[in-house]
């Protein structure tokens, strides 16, 4: 009996200890600053030396592992990899394209196990500072040439996004352009007798009504990827900004009169506009069930007159629907509102070189090739209308797509740079790590309006504004940041927010 008990105890002990023995990958619960500093200060000289040592043998077979989520330029990337491997027979590119969620799920495990890819992007929600402190990236300054840095648009470099001090960590994928303009199908509009491109809420509503009536259950006014809450969020923010409201860019935070600006008059106007489209039956009924790429396809098939998305649609349409007769227009504004804005695209960090990469030099060479004219990746992306390159010379030479040019023109004319708390206060990095997401979010509320699950959107907006204000105050307090840093009293929405404006607030 005693032996049995002992045996049972031993087994229980083994079962308890075995799982715990694997807990080395668990997070530390020590002091945030010290932990971060430790991670950030990990000496990489050994890695560099090792890498340099390896360079001595130029014929060494090397596999570069690259992971990202750039599906908008997948074809161009594939061609680039083929060419790169042809030119570098000793290098094999192992490229994995994931969705953003898949990437978030896997990257932490890869890094924790010391097996991160050589090149990978920063997942949304994480700032460069946090990523560097976590030991994810290493500076690329010493691996790239001065010429390489010199060819970039100076606006594509930003402290806290691509650089920390003098250290260059990430390269941004493209020049920031607004993600929300309205595409229209010229043939659908013509068949419905819509001759003028709508500019105001009432004109847009009228055009959608005509298209829907003429469509007889097959064609609707507006379609969008309503299953993707982030797309709905962009739509709401852009409409509210175009109505004259002070609204932060997507995933960002700022306050107006000390509150989260989710229940402002302009936001209510924007939501009211979307609800009126729903009430008219002008929204494609599948909108709630489909993702943005599915909406893009259905728009191209002529199932709707309008679609609210970004420049990334142009390239796939050129490939899959070369006969699609379409145009692009600005975000509609409330009747009588003029001289307004939408949030300008924000520079976001993209890919960098893994701190523990065994081949940082080759990884940096890959990056140089990716952004060079010679390998054709940038030029094909620009020529196909995928995006505006961060290399101005390439844009000048290859931007030939008329719709892309029109998109860029409207984007430049209508968008304004909005203030960000990261540019104002370094503690904002900690704020974004600390702050909790409030649900139902703005995007979810739009989804609720589209699915007719919400009738009282005013109440939902007020709850969101109240809860967000409370949470932002808590997060500010937790990281020792002044809550008033979220407020930009000198922000004039009719003008770009400049460095001088930030200076004024100091």
């Amino acid at each position: 009996m005693r032996k049995k008990q002992l045996g049972a105890l031993l087994l229980a002990g083994i079962m308890a200890v075995l799982p715990l023995s694997g807990c080395g990958a668990m997070p530390s619960t020590g002091n945030r600053t010290e932990e971060s500093a430790d991670a950030g200060n990990t000496d990489t000289s050994g890695d560099k030396e090792g890498a340099e040592g390896k360079q001595e043998d130029s014929n060494e077979k090397i596999t570069l592992r690259i992971v990202d989520w750039s599906d908008g330029s997948a074809q161009q990337r594939e061609k680039f990899h083929e060419k790169y491997m042809e030119e570098h027979p000793n290098i094999t590119i192992e490229y994995t394209m994931l969705t953003v969620d898949q990437f978030k799920n896997t990257i932490v495990t890869m890094i924790k196990s010391g097996d991160g890819p050589d090149i990978f992007p920063i997942p949304g929600g994480m700032t460069l500072k946090t990523a560097v402190e976590e030991g994810w990236y290493q500076p690329i300054n010493s691996f790239v040439t001065e010429d390489f840095a010199g060819q970039f648009d100076p606006r594509s470099f930003e402290e806290g996004v691509t650089h920390i001090g003098d250290e260059w960590y990430t390269i941004t994928e493209q020049m920031p352009v607004i993600q929300c303009l309205f595409f229209y199908n010229k043939d659908v509009l013509e068949q419905a007798g819509v001759t003028e491109i709508p500019a105001t809420y009432s004109e847009f509503r009228e055009a959608c009504k005509k298209i829907t009536e003429n469509g007889n259950g097959s064609v609707y006014g507006l379609i969008d990827g309503g299953k993707q809450v982030n797309r709905m969020d962009v739509l709401a923010r852009s409409l509210a900004a175009a109505a004259g409201g002070k609204v932060a860019a997507i995933t960002k935070v700022l306050t107006v009169d000390g509150r989260a600006p989710y229940d402002t008059e302009e936001m209510k106007q924007a939501m009211g506009f979307l609800k009126s489209l729903v009430d008219d039956g002008s929204i494609h009924p599948d909108t709630v069930n489909i993702s943005a790429p599915e909406a893009r396809e259905m728009f191209a098939q002529g199932q709707a007159g309008f679609l609210c998305q970004g420049m990334w649609c142009i390239s796939p349409w050129g490939e899959g629907y070369p006969d699609l007769n379409y145009g692009v227009m600005a975000v509609p504004v409330p009747d009588g509102v003029t001289d307004t804005y939408v949030q300008g695209g924000e520079l976001s960090p993209w890919i960098g070189v893994y701190k523990q990469s065994a081949h940082p030099k080759e990884a940096a060479e890959y990056l140089m090739a990716l952004f060079s004219e010679e390998y054709g990746y940038q030029s094909s992306c620009v020529a196909d209308g995928a995006y505006i390159s961060v290399i101005p010379a390439i844009n000048e030479k290859y931007m030939s797509n008329e719709i892309m040019k029109e998109y860029y023109r409207i984007a430049t004319e209508t968008s304004k740079i909005v203030p960000t708390i990261i540019s104002r206060d370094e503690k904002a990095n900690d704020f974004y790590v600390e702050v909790k997401d409030i649900q139902p979010s703005l995007g979810a509320i739009v989804q609720g309006i589209f699915s007719q699950s919400i009738t009282d959107f005013d109440g939902q907006l007020k709850t969101l504004a109240d809860s967000s204000t409370e949470e932002w105050k808590r997060a500010c307090e937790a990281v020792g940041m002044d809550y008033s840093s979220l407020e930009f009293p000198n922000w004039d929405t009719k003008k770009d927010y400049t460095d001088q404006d930030y200076e004024e607030l100091k």
């Binding site: 079962m15 997070p27 020590g30 259950g217 009924p285 790590v433 703005l442 007719q452």
Partner: protein, 316 residues
């Protein structure tokens, strides 16, 4: 006295041998189970223990730093309306699908268990095909089939069953029942196989005796076969309930928990909390607390129901 001692001595020797045999048997048993136990520890035990630790942390899952917050995540859950919405949706989904799944799969199994049925193996394969089809593929195809301009709505409007196309997945009223129907179609092949195994364990003599006694097919089923296979049914019900409570893939593929959380179940809630966020970082710690809370709640509900069942059977 001498005899007794000898007897006792013999008894000790046989006792020792019995113990030894038992021990050897135990060692063999553990040896055979070792692989399964090892896998259990690695892929179930370890993640569960990690989850318990994570649930006590304020941790995004993306940084190396985490703050110990005790039971704060659990306290927050109690006031989280969306968590409770997902919690009840999981049970609603289970309550809808389990009886349907059991009934439909049993019906199919009983039909296919008929020896006189020609080509029964073809039918079995046919009903089993959806089971081996990837859920994401099923999801994508079903979104098209059930779409406003899809074939189902085309049929409904052509036959004047519905004047307007039905928004099966975009309308909060219909979205969850639609998911139930699709899951039913996809999974009933599995349960049909279980039922078939149960039905085939019923002796042919029983059927023959029933026929001799003049029972028709319906009477044979309800009064003879069903009582005999009820224990198998209990196990199938438990398996079905467990699978339904942790439903994820079909919901994720088809509705992402929408429209406006109408089909949000615990698994999608946990996934969303753990891996995505619109502002700031995701919350792996909070998501772990939600998963454990739900798991604990299911165990408690199971124990209470078991207790009630025990009392009822005693009273009967």
């Amino acid at each position: 006295m001498q005899k007794l001692q000898i007897a006792s001595g013999k008894g000790t020797a046989s006792e020792k041998r019995r113990r030894k045999d038992k021990m050897v048997m135990n060692v063999w048993c553990w040896l055979f189970m070792a692989l399964a136990v090892g896998f259990y520890i690695l892929f179930q035990g370890y993640p569960i223990i990690c989850s318990i630790q994570y649930s006590l942390l304020n941790w995004s899952g993306m940084t190396g730093y985490a703050e110990y917050v005790g039971l704060a995540n659990y306290r927050e859950l109690l006031h989280d309306e969306l968590f409770w919405n997902a919690f009840f949706n999981s049970f609603k989904y289970t309550a809808l699908i389990v009886p349907l799944e059991l009934a439909v799969s049993l019906f199919l199994a009983y039909m296919l268990n008929n020896e006189k049925l020609k080509g029964s193996s073809v039918y079995r394969t046919m009903y089993f095909v959806p089971v081996v089809t990837t859920t994401s593929v099923v999801g994508i195809i079903m979104i098209f089939i059930l779409g406003v301009q899809g074939p189902v709505n085309h049929l409904l409007t052509s036959l004047h069953i519905s004047g307007q196309p039905v928004n099966f997945l975009g309308n909060a009223k219909y979205a969850l029942p639609t998911l139930v129907v699709i899951s039913l179609w996809k999974d009933c092949g599995t349960y049909m196989i279980y039922w078939l195994a149960g039905l085939q364990s019923v002796s042919k003599d029983v059927y023959e005796a029933a026929t001799v006694d003049g029972a028709n097919r319906r009477q044979t089923f309800f009064h003879i076969v069903l009582p005999l296979i009820t224990p198998v049914g209990g196990i199938i019900a438990i398996l079905c309930a467990i699978n339904s409570l942790k439903v994820f893939d079909i919901v994720k593929t088809m509705t992402e928990g929408g429209p406006f959380y109408a089909t949000d179940v615990i698994a999608t809630y946990v996934y969303r909390s753990a891996f995505s966020s619109e502002i700031g970082m995701p919350r792996l710690g909070y998501a772990s607390a939600a998963a454990l809370f739900f798991g604990g709640a299911v165990i408690i509900i199971g124990l209470v129901l078991n207790g009630i069942k025990g009392r009822l059977s005693k009273n009967i």
